[in-house]
């Protein structure tokens, strides 16, 4: 099963097919060029012009290199680390020399052999810089650190929910012992999920089952005040998602959207597989001037950070408030996961 554990351990070289890595390389090298322009020129205008000239030469080179690296992909990962790195540097240097040659042929500029060597050296150095930066970044996000971070981000459930649910279960023991048994089993499942290895991705079917159990417990406390509308269509139940991705969002929705409203409301959950992306939508009524409507965004920040650890820049989480036709307001969360949710 794919997991962040394997990704982190088998990744001495950056994954050149990851959008985040590509973006970092593009920005990083351009930053280096801007720095070089700053060093070379006195005036700011001259400096910008110089950078502009360099950028025109730089972008095709960068895009070409990134394309080659992305195509090489797994083959590069198979090599020993040092030879793979040497290969990347060599690729950058050679392509720079070739591009300079082509450029000089097209523009009839005389670059001379010294100019060619200089272009190669510069490109090679820039590639080496980017490689070491990305390596540093990987070690800064070492598996141990990621694990600790994920652990602390995942293992959170509102104590408020726990103690209220326990009260509800205790009250049921005399009234409806069977329902109390089910509720305790559901609570146990929820805690098993909380204690699970947070690095391991889980099938979306499991996460949805967990959400249903959670909502069942909330229903015990809130009764008719809590209504849920599912529109999850028929996504393959084996798509992998980070564990406890949806449950904390539902908990948020109940806490901010249902509990403060005297008459309750409806939470809507939508799931859609569009192309290679998994879209998750969540909506809850937003309660005006409620004492805790201005509550913290901890759960959201938390999930955003976890998505960044799992998927770097390839996953998105957007939130917003929408005014509905009947004048009421609705709070919406939209998540997009790459690769059909799995990796």
């Amino acid at each position: 099963m794919a997991s962040i554990k394997q990704n982190a351990e088998s990744q001495p070289l950056p994954d050149f097919r990851n959008a985040g890595v590509m973006l970092r390389i593009l920005l990083g090298v351009n930053l280096l060029a801007l720095l070089a322009a700053l060093v070379r020129n006195d005036g700011l205008v001259a400096c910008l012009q110089d950078y502009g000239a360099m950028a025109a030469w730089l972008q095709p080179l960068l895009l070409f290199n990134l394309a080659v690296l992305a195509l090489l992909g797994n083959r590069l990962q198979g090599l020993a680390v040092w030879s793979a790195r040497a290969l990347v540097v060599l690729l950058a240097a050679t392509s720079a020399v070739l591009l300079s040659l082509l450029w000089s042929l097209l523009t009839f500029d005389e670059w001379g052999w010294q100019g060619l060597v200089r272009a190669g050296l510069l490109a090679g150095t820039a590639a080496a810089c980017m490689l070491s930066y990305l390596a540093l970044r990987v070690s800064a996000l070492s598996p141990a650190l990621i694990e600790a971070r994920l652990q602390s981000l995942t293992a959170r459930i509102r104590p408020h929910f726990l103690f209220n649910s326990l009260t509800a279960v205790i009250s049921l023991i005399r009234l409806d012992p069977r329902r109390a048994e089910t509720a305790l089993e559901e609570l146990a499942e929820l805690f098993r999920a909380l204690l699970r290895d947070p690095r391991q991705l889980v099938p979306i079917g499991d996460e949805l089952a967990l959400c249903r159990q959670y909502l069942d417990l909330e229903k015990l406390r809130l009764g008719e005040r809590l209504q849920v509308e599912w529109s999850i269509g028929d996504p393959p139940a084996d798509i992998l998602v980070p564990p406890l991705l949806l449950q904390p969002l539902l908990e948020n929705a109940v806490y901010h959207g249902i509990e403060p409203a005297a008459n309750g409301g409806t939470i809507r959950v939508g799931l859609l597989l569009r192309g290679n992306e998994l879209h998750i939508d969540l909506a809850n009524p937003s309660v005006p001037h409620a004492e805790h409507a201005r509550g913290n965004h901890m759960a959201l920040d938390n999930i955003r950070e976890r998505l960044a650890l799992y998927y770097d820049l390839e996953a998105r989480l957007d939130t917003g408030e929408v005014r509905l036709a009947d004048g009421s307001r609705e709070y919406r969360v939209h998540i997009v996961l790459p690769g059909g949710g799995s990796r």
């Binding site: 408020h160 103690f163 009260t167 205790i170 406390r221 001037h289």
Partner: protein
């Protein structure tokens, strides 16, 4: 020493206030279990502070067991309004988990119970009741309080609740503040400055003595009288009165209203 003490004391009249039915059921069970040891009777239940205040006006209640987090009116706001009632019942807060509130309860020696409530703790709290005074202003001031959902005032010995969401404007008159809703006016014993601090995100100041609900402003018109102090008047939803906007507040009022409309 007298004859009355020989007959059993009347049972403690308890009011249970919680928005979650299972939590109310649990307290009812616990109180029934304790009845042999300490006679008590659940005289009413309410789902929130508003309902609880109605019950207290209608019935004789010795003690209210009050949840903190409830829709419409939370437990702490309930306690604030309760301090205006002639003979308020004792209040015991019941909370699942609220670190701030619990700290405040400890500091100001307010009685509280943690959910799930234990029978022994409940008994101990009820036994202490005869020595309890109603919550003092100092105690109430220490409790964590968000903006209230209602203002309250007295009229002919009755406590009236005014939902803040229904207020159109607040006007300072000598000692009192006049509260204007769509239907009528109320007099409340508060200061406009405090009200502005508490409800700053819902009301704006039009001039020295008037706060108006932001969503109640429907437009502005030039005042007919060529007064030096005021030039503009605010037009309000649902009421015919126009409120003058002071020259000093005009730029601020205009920008705030424009932002909320746009």
């Amino acid at each position: 020493m007298n004859l009355v003490s020989a007959s059993p004391a009347p049972p403690i009249a308890v009011l249970i206030v919680d928005d979650e039915a299972p939590a109310r059921a649990r307290l009812r069970d616990l109180l029934a279990d304790l009845a042999a040891e300490l006679p008590n009777e659940v005289v009413a239940e309410a789902e929130n502070g508003v309902g609880a205040l109605e019950m207290i006006a209608a019935l004789k209640v010795d003690v209210a067991l009050v949840d903190i987090r409830m829709p419409r009116m939370d437990g702490i706001e309930f306690a604030h309004h309760l301090s205006q009632v002639a003979q308020p019942p004792a209040v015991i807060f019941v909370t699942a988990y609220d670190t701030y509130a619990v700290q405040a309860f400890e500091l100001s020696a307010v009685d509280y119970l943690l959910k799930p409530v234990r029978s022994a703790r409940l008994l101990a709290a009820l036994r202490k009741l005869p020595q309890r005074q109603p919550l003092s202003t100092a105690q109430l001031a220490r409790l964590p309080q968000a903006a209230r959902s209602h203002l309250s005032c007295h009229e002919r010995g009755r406590l009236l609740l005014i939902p803040v969401a229904g207020i159109i404007y607040l006007k300072a008159d000598l000692k009192y503040v006049t509260v204007r809703t769509r239907e009528r006016e109320f007099l409340v014993d508060e200061s406009l400055t405090h009200l502005e601090q508490e409800f700053g995100d819902q009301f704006i100041r039009l001039h020295r003595s008037v706060l108006v609900a932001r969503d109640a402003i429907v437009g502005f018109a030039h005042s007919a009288a060529d007064d030096a102090e005021t030039q503009w008047q605010a037009l309000l939803r649902d009421v015919a009165e126009r409120l003058p906007v002071s020259r000093r507040q005009w730029p601020l009022v205009k920008s705030l209203v424009r932002r909320s409309v746009g």
